[in-house]
């Protein structure tokens, strides 16, 4: 059986070296051409422009309690090694606070209790992973817009950057969105999930929900929110961990 398997594999190896292989390595080589690749990547601007033109303020669909996934898959970093984070986790984040700074008139340090005391938005939404799977969960937290208003966002601010406590493959995770999404009514900083405080695997104590974009934008373990005028100079400059390290699109509406 194993010998049979081997010969079949060898056959496939030989096949790959043939016509298909030629065509494919051609595609890979084409993609190495910066002009070609940039042209393809330009589609991201079409996605953003078309979706903004057709539904700038559209709300993501919300579901009923009966639609919630029985098990919500946790992805990316499921735990955080940072000792300071571990200490906060052990104390139920009682001493923890969220920093809001950058291009704001009034930088903030908001304890978790203060975030919970703000007007809350509960929403049952579908989380769409870039890989293709989806899970529905209920999220609760204050609107990001509220925090930005409290901190008095400066007029030159164009992006909101979310700095996270976790390292993913040794590098700090972060994400960013523009002001259209930052002020969207469903963009919240969730501390609650399915009626309970956020678990570590899902980004305790606070994760971003930006409901009209893919999962990698939903930054977990958010510790600091920074308002900036440009994404250049922040880590790899592409606006997020995966954008810097994985060639994912910054605009993840599709």
């Amino acid at each position: 059986m194993s010998r049979l398997l081997l010969s079949r594999r060898r056959l496939i190896g030989a096949g790959a070296a043939g016509a298909g292989g030629l065509l494919l390595s051609g595609c890979d080589r084409l993609f190495d051409n910066p002009m070609f690749r940039q042209t393809l990547e330009g589609a991201e601007h079409l996605h953003q422009a078309s979706q903004r033109a057709l539904g700038r303020n559209a709300l993501a669909r919300e579901f009923g309690a009966g639609d919630i996934s029985p098990v919500f898959r946790a992805n990316g970093s499921r735990s955080v090694a940072d000792p300071a984070y571990r200490a906060h986790l052990a104390q139920g984040f009682a001493q923890w606070s969220l920093r809001v700074d950058g291009l704001v008139a009034r930088p903030l340090a908001l304890p978790l209790a203060a975030l919970k005391a703000l007007p809350q938005r509960p929403q049952i939404t579908r989380h769409d992973c870039v890989e293709g799977w989806s899970a529905i969960g209920q999220w609760q937290g204050p609107r990001l817009a509220l925090l930005l208003d409290m901190a008095r966002l400066a007029p030159e601010a164009r992006y909101i950057v979310f700095h996270c406590a976790d390292l993913y493959r040794g590098l700090p995770y972060y994400e960013s969105i523009d002001l259209v999404d930052a002020y969207h009514p469903q963009t919240i900083l969730a501390w609650g999930m399915n009626g309970r405080p956020l678990e570590e695997a899902h980004g305790a104590p606070l994760r971003l929900r930006v409901e009209r974009q893919l999962g990698y934008k939903q930054a977990k373990f958010v510790t600091r929110i920074e308002a900036v005028s440009s994404l250049q100079g922040i880590h790899g400059g592409q606006g997020g961990y995966w954008e810097d390290n994985g060639a994912y699109a910054w605009y993840a509406g599709i």
């Binding site: 496939i12 993609f31 690749r37 079409l46 579908r126 799977w133 529905i136």
Partner: protein, 294 residues
Amino acid sequence: MHCEPGVSEAPSGAPQPRGGDLVRRHRLATRLWHWVNAVTLLVLLMSGLMIFNAHPRLYWGEYGANFDQLWLAIGSARSGGHEIGYLRLGHMQWDTSGWLGLWTDPNGGLQRRAFPHWATIPTSYSLAFARIWHLAFAWVLALGLTAYLLWSLLSRHLQRDIHITRAEWSLANLWADLRSHAALRFPTGAEALHYSVFQKIAYAGVLFGLLPMMILTGLAMSPGTDAWAPLLTEVVGGRQSARSLHFLCAWGLVGFFLVHVAMVVLAGPLNELRSITTGWFRLPRERDVREEGA
């Protein structure tokens, strides 16, 4: 197989083209769209298979992830002391070692991704690169199809060449066309200027069925589109249903492609390729002489 107005709608009295005549068959818009689409669909299929590799499971409904019930999965598992690649469909499972789920890359490395390197763009695993290919060429497909359908409507291509008349829908005609297809008897002479009923059904199915479904189910998976056009996702039964239908329709197009190419090969590949590239088609000679002689 539509033709220039001067050919297909010759005023009565004008000589009908006969077998052996060189005629204009495909107009520029059709030829252009055909070849742009050929490349586009190949890129979309192969980059799509790579995207599937990122999560090689399919579900029905709105949500679906590793803990939920799936209807299709490709993967690898240990079975009786050795590892196999498998394709699972409901409760059925096939050993697909070497092809799906477990295969060897050109460097001899054992890979556990669903679709093998020779079927994907790029050849080695990258969801990000596959998405860049896929989402760029998706625009080419969507804009191309829209433009072509508009042109087909305005140029009366649909009405003249694709529209299936009541007479063509008759059982007798369907049966006759089925028989001539099965016997590989292709139309000759002036008859070869028109599509047969099964050709019309196939092309209409692709133009109005499979290709729009690919685009709509693709859009239905986009969280941004789902916000402004929720109906799209709701109509197909949810994001995971959209993903499943996207996958199934893609294989529907592969099926069309295989039949399409087989027919081209059987009908005379050089003549067919010339007509879809330059527009010029040599009408096959009438069979009567040979048939009478037989």
